[in-house]
């Protein structure tokens, strides 16, 4: 139960960074932290206490094993996260070229 709670805390730390921080890079880091919290959650609920790896072997009877599907989901979501992060960072570099700052309160050409 404690691990789930810590996972939630991690997610909230990420959300806090996204909502409260003014530096674009910190916002991106916040998004990445959130992503890791979700991935961690996926792996957490797949785990079973004393579970074994989900490999088939003909000479053993498998009673407890970790659920392999959420691990595959976590893998996919890591790849998606990589694409998102790369695009965000690329955009941040371009924004810095145009505005000369990473501060979102100063990046304010758009109104309304």
């Amino acid at each position: 139960m404690m691990t789930y709670f810590l996972c939630l805390v991690l997610f909230c730390v990420g959300l806090y960074a996204i909502v409260r921080k003014r530096n674009i890079i910190k916002i991106i880091i916040g998004i990445v932290i959130c992503e890791y919290a979700v991935n961690l959650f996926l792996v957490l609920f797949a785990y079973k206490i004393n579970g074994r790896s989900p490999l088939y072997s003909p000479d053993q009877e498998i009673t407890t094993m970790a659920d392999p599907l959420p691990q595959a989901l976590a893998l996919t979501s890591i790849v998606i996260g990589l694409a998102t992060t790369a695009l965000l960072v690329g955009m941040a570099i371009r924004l810095y070229e145009k505005y000369g700052t990473f501060d979102i309160t100063k990046i304010n050409h758009l109104k309304g």
Partner: protein, 500 residues
């Protein structure tokens, strides 16, 4: 049935080939994109006729795996309806981009991203597995973030960053929701999920997942509390992409996902419907009021888009068959006239170099095709008979009154009056009045741009015919049935599977 995977394969393959081969041949990317989208449009027409003749949904088992294990592709009537809209708009937009995108340098990258986005949207529509839906959702989203930043000017990057930060958080909520759902039901297949959840009975976890999904998909749909990105992102994107974003992306990624998940998997309950109605009515009024004060044409259309999507959400929220029919019909109409309006504003920008309504005026003589098509679109969106927007708004307002939600009906009428007022402002400032000196040498846009606008305006003009039983029995009625039958969706899917 064999054609279903083509909806994803063709755009992805074309995106790959264009980025590989497009550099050598100058016209290759134009021809490839236009022909691929045309082929997709023809396939989606074939699909809609095919599915109506056999009534049951079509299922393609990827790799031969049966659904609780594999990732099936499912086409039912609602999907076929959406596929037709998406691929039709994509075809028109790719015709339009041939001339419009000449002024940008990296046309190749534009087509690659455009086709990736199309592939992602088609994937969202045909996927029968909730995680697969998420993956395609991300594919379409990431392509659309990049397309919004395409112009590479300061404002465009700012808008794209805003869009992307919000979109990324929304996607995380969806992924978290899927994780909760899987830990609760141990399956990701939509039909299977629906059966497992109904066997479990009422469940607090499902309510929580529902809230996460409304947050996540609501950001993509841009219903009012989550609309902040939209008014920046639409004006920043190139005109064809604004047309795609307003016309189909919000609908296939947002509304379709919401209705598929809530109507067919979770099953609707009154509190969810009330929430939808409230958010819809709020969007209608807030979008309309914000649109009134705008001087940038695209920004005005962007707010108008929020307001019109509000009608769709309101219609779905009423939950009666008539309301759902009106909502789906308005979804179709909105794709047509809002895409047309964004293409019009692109044409104005192409000819004059500005989108500011205060600097425009008197373009009627100079650009007759743009003026007339935009007049048709403006009348359609304001709900003036005999254009298509009138009938769908009428249906939604009737449905409100019939189900005793007279208050919401009045809100919808007020929203319609607001719509007329800002579109009158647009028409008056852009096409009537004296011609400013700077615009003396404005010319009508090239032929292909005209052609795409004319096709869309004909659809707007004749769109009301979808009300006729002969057409609606093929088009909107079966799609409505999918939503009205709700959780029977899973029974139908398993029936098809067990037959073979």
């Amino acid at each position: 049935m064999k054609l279903i995977p083509l909806f994803v394969i063709l755009p992805l393959a074309a995106a790959f080939l264009i980025s590989l081969l497009g550099k050598q041949k100058r016209f290759f990317c134009d021809i490839a994109s236009a022909s691929i989208t045309f082929i997709l449009f023809v396939i989606s027409l074939a699909t809609i006729f095919n599915i109506n003749s056999q009534i049951l949904p079509m299922i393609y088992k990827v790799g031969g795996w049966l659904p609780p294990m594999g990732l099936p592709l499912v086409v039912d009537n609602l999907t076929a309806f959406m596929l037709l809209i998406v691929n039709f708009i994509a075809f028109i937009v790719s015709l339009y981009s041939i001339n419009y995108m000449e002024k940008f340098t990296a046309k190749l990258k534009f087509y690659t991203l455009f086709l990736l986005m199309l592939g992602g949207m088609n994937g969202v529509l045909i996927s029968g597995d909730i995680f697969n839906l998420y993956v395609f959702f991300e594919l379409a989203s990431i392509a659309s973030y990049a397309l919004v930043a395409y112009g590479n000017k300061a404002e465009e990057l700012e808008a794209a960053f805003k869009y992307m930060a919000m979109g990324a958080v929304g996607s995380l909520f969806i992924l978290l929701g899927i994780a909760f759902l899987y830990s609760n039901a141990s399956t990701l297949n939509m039909a299977d999920l629906s059966q497992v959840l109904s066997a479990q009975g009422t469940n607090k976890a499902v309510t929580f997942v529902g809230i996460l999904f409304i947050l996540g998909f609501g950001i993509k749909t841009a219903i009012v509390p989550f609309h902040a990105w939209l008014a920046d992102a639409y004006p920043a994107a190139p005109a064809p992409i604004s047309a795609m974003l307003a016309g189909v992306v919000t609908k296939s990624l947002g509304i379709y996902s919401i209705v598929r998940i809530f109507f067919n998997i979770f099953g609707v309950n009154p509190s969810f419907l009330n929430l939808l109605m409230f958010l819809g009515a709020l969007s209608i009024i807030v979008g309309g009021l914000l649109a009134l004060g705008q001087t940038d044409t695209k920004r005005m259309f962007a707010y108008s888009s929020i307001s019109q999507v509000g009608y769709i959400i309101l219609g779905l929220g009423i939950g009666t068959p008539l309301g759902i029919l009106g909502a789906l019909f308005h979804l179709f109409n909105h794709s047509m006239f809002k895409s047309l309006l964004f293409l019009n504003s692109g044409a104005i920008e192409y000819a004059t170099g500005t989108r500011n309504l205060e600097k425009l005026g008197g373009l009627r003589e100079k650009m007759p095709v743009t003026a007339n098509t935009s007049l048709i679109a403006s009348m359609a969106v304001s709900g003036i008979p005999p254009f298509n927007g009138f009938f769908s708004k009428l249906l939604i307002i009737f449905a409100c009154i019939k189900s005793n939600h007279i208050g919401y009906g009045i809100w919808a009428i007020v929203g319609s009056v607001l719509t007329i007022s800002y579109f009158m402002k647009f028409q008056k400032n852009a096409f009537f009045g004296p011609l400013p000196k700077e615009l003396k040498d404005a010319k009508e846009v090239p032929f292909l741009m005209q052609a795409s606008m004319i096709i869309l305006s004909i659809v707007c003009l004749l769109g009301g015919m979808v009300m006729l039983p002969k057409i609606s029995n093929y088009f909107t009625e079966p799609a409505k049935t999918v939503l009205v039958q709700g959780k029977d969706y899973s029974n139908l899917i398993f029936k098809v599977l067990n037959e073979k």
